[in-house]
Subunit: 339 residues, 2 copies
């Protein structure tokens, strides 16, 4: 390793700290490839997500994220994909395209944030790569996991209930507060903190996903995470053969999100339906598991809300005020990086 | 999937073609994560490599690579890392940062090149991600493999022979010919084609790596690939506890490389020692396996050359004219992206 590369590698290694080792890591960073022991009887699951400065986050200006938040987020969004399969995110490989002017200290802080998310959800960082991307920071994180019975997006049936973990709209509220500047954040008071934290440090629902996966095919038939927005991700679970109706009153929109919406002159419901980046789990719960599924998630320390029902009408999403209502059409719109 | 993203995804899917399925692929592209079946009794191996336009390749100007060559290369360099562990590169996940002005047809051609490398070495593309990186094309490819007994960089002993597969210096010759322009390439005649091909389409030595791994710890004790240059990668195999002496006359420098060097007024030996990007396998062969190892690689359709010997002098690299000579110091220099 030459002097130029060595300084960067030292920053990465220092930032990652203890996150380089963990369950099943036979050989980690430092060889041509990592060597990993998959738990017996489990399937390997693998996902990758690339985030780019200016598109997924900012490093400068009023909406700037800290290096540590950028690192946390880049890993958390892929841990969430593993959680959405009912798996454990065991290992990560992380590539970093370092822009001109980014210091070794910033690289170290970014890796420390990544290591925090790794430690929080039982992930070891077993590989990585550094390159130069002069104009902007790029992170690409692959996460490998293990699951006994990986869930899929396909499998929902008419009459299944729509389940969602946690809360909706907080990440979109946080983004609006970032965009709105210091004055808006001050005006929102305490509500701002919760929403900004949801945007900066998404919490992949790993324990919830494991609890839902453990219910078996008679409990949860299909699952994904809410990355692009509730409506568009729900349309993906419908998969061209089903429709769904959501019950507005059942949507878990926290008080802080409603308060932030009131402050910002925005609509909390739109954030919850189309905002995206909540990284909650969205699933099809068999009617027989309508009590068992929320109980299982509660035992895992989370919350599962039943917010609607799958129907037999292909491609039709509707929003009703409450259970039993017919409601009106719900557009399957969300966040589109190429729009 | 919205209209904006859908057009790009269609190009990717069309380019990848049949490469999306393969051995052990239980579920490929299209869900939150891929589901993979690791062969029983084998360890999982994982590696990632990021390549960036302007640093690792060019899309414009006299040194421009075609989209298909860029795709081939981005996968091949990571397949080579798996080969260096004695493993089979079973699965790949590929992230693409698409720059402004790159067309869907170019994305499709790039994915088709990636699919060619996938098919050539038994790899299925099971995941991916698209983002926008306005100023330049970025590819980040993770490759997952399986090996019964993964080799490591560590383990060489004094008296072990230095083995290298294939040929050295061809990729550096190709790069010099790209830099030298059309006139130099024309002057070099037939030699140019072979060297340019080595630069554009590196051939990971998967079959060779499997054959070397199968010899067991009494045959090959340590292995890596030649990515940054023979001398610097050899220094890594020495790992701070050993030294090595190389035998100049034994280095496999093909006639085309010597011809290109003569044409370009460069030194073929320097290309072979410090040029990098050859993606050959470099290994420590136990003295008892000095005949068996080259025979095993020949049976696999390749070639293994014994080009030197590990010594007990930590950090000392030397270059001698031939076996038995003491020679002079060899600097452990190579390609450094951060220099």
């Amino acid at each position: 390793v030459s002097a130029g590369e060595a300084a960067w590698l030292a920053a990465v290694v220092s930032g990652l700290g203890a996150a380089v080792s963990g369950e099943g890591v036979l050989r980690g960073i430092g060889d041509d490839a990592a060597v990993l022991a998959l738990p017996a009887g489990e399937s390997l699951i693998a996902t990758v997500d690339m985030v780019v400065e200016g598109q997924h986050f900012e490093r400068r200006g009023p909406r700037a994220a800290t290096p540590a938040d950028i690192g946390w987020r880049a890993l958390a969004v892929s841990q969430s994909d593993i959680a959405a399969m009912g798996g454990r995110p065991l290992w990560a490989l992380s590539s970093l395209g370092v822009p001109d002017g980014m210091t070794a200290a910033e690289v170290e802080a970014l890796c420390a944030g990544l290591a925090e998310a790794a430690a929080a959800y039982g992930t070891a960082v077993v590989g990585g790569n550094l390159a130069r991307n002069p104009e902007r920071l790029v992170l690409d994180v692959t996460v490998l996991g293990a699951a006994r019975r990986p869930l899929s997006r396909a499998g929902a049936r008419p009459g299944d209930l729509v389940g969602v973990t946690g809360r909706l709209g907080a990440a979109a509220a946080g983004l609006a507060l970032l965009r709105g500047g210091e004055r808006l954040r001050a005006a929102c008071g305490a509500a701002a903190g919760e929403c900004l934290q949801a945007q900066r440090r998404p919490q992949p629902r790993v324990a919830e996903g494991l609890a839902l996966g453990a219910l078996g095919p008679q409990g949860v038939r299909a699952m994904c995470d809410v990355s692009d927005g509730l409506a568009i991700d729900l349309a993906r679970l419908c998969g061209g053969t089903l429709g769904a109706v959501l019950w507005r009153e059942a949507l878990p929109v926290p008080a802080a999100v409603r308060a932030a919406a009131a402050c910002a002159g925005e609509d909390a419901l739109q954030w919850a339906l189309h905002g995206g980046e909540d990284y909650e789990l969205l699933c099809a719960v068999a009617p027989e598991a309508a009590s068992a599924a929320p109980r299982a998630v509660a035992r895992a320390g989370g919350a599962l809300h039943l917010i609607g029902e799958f129907t037999a009408t292909p491609g039709e999403l509707r929003l009703a005020a409450r259970r039993g209502g017919r409601g009106g059409p719900l557009p399957a719109s969300g966040w589109d990086p190429f729009a």
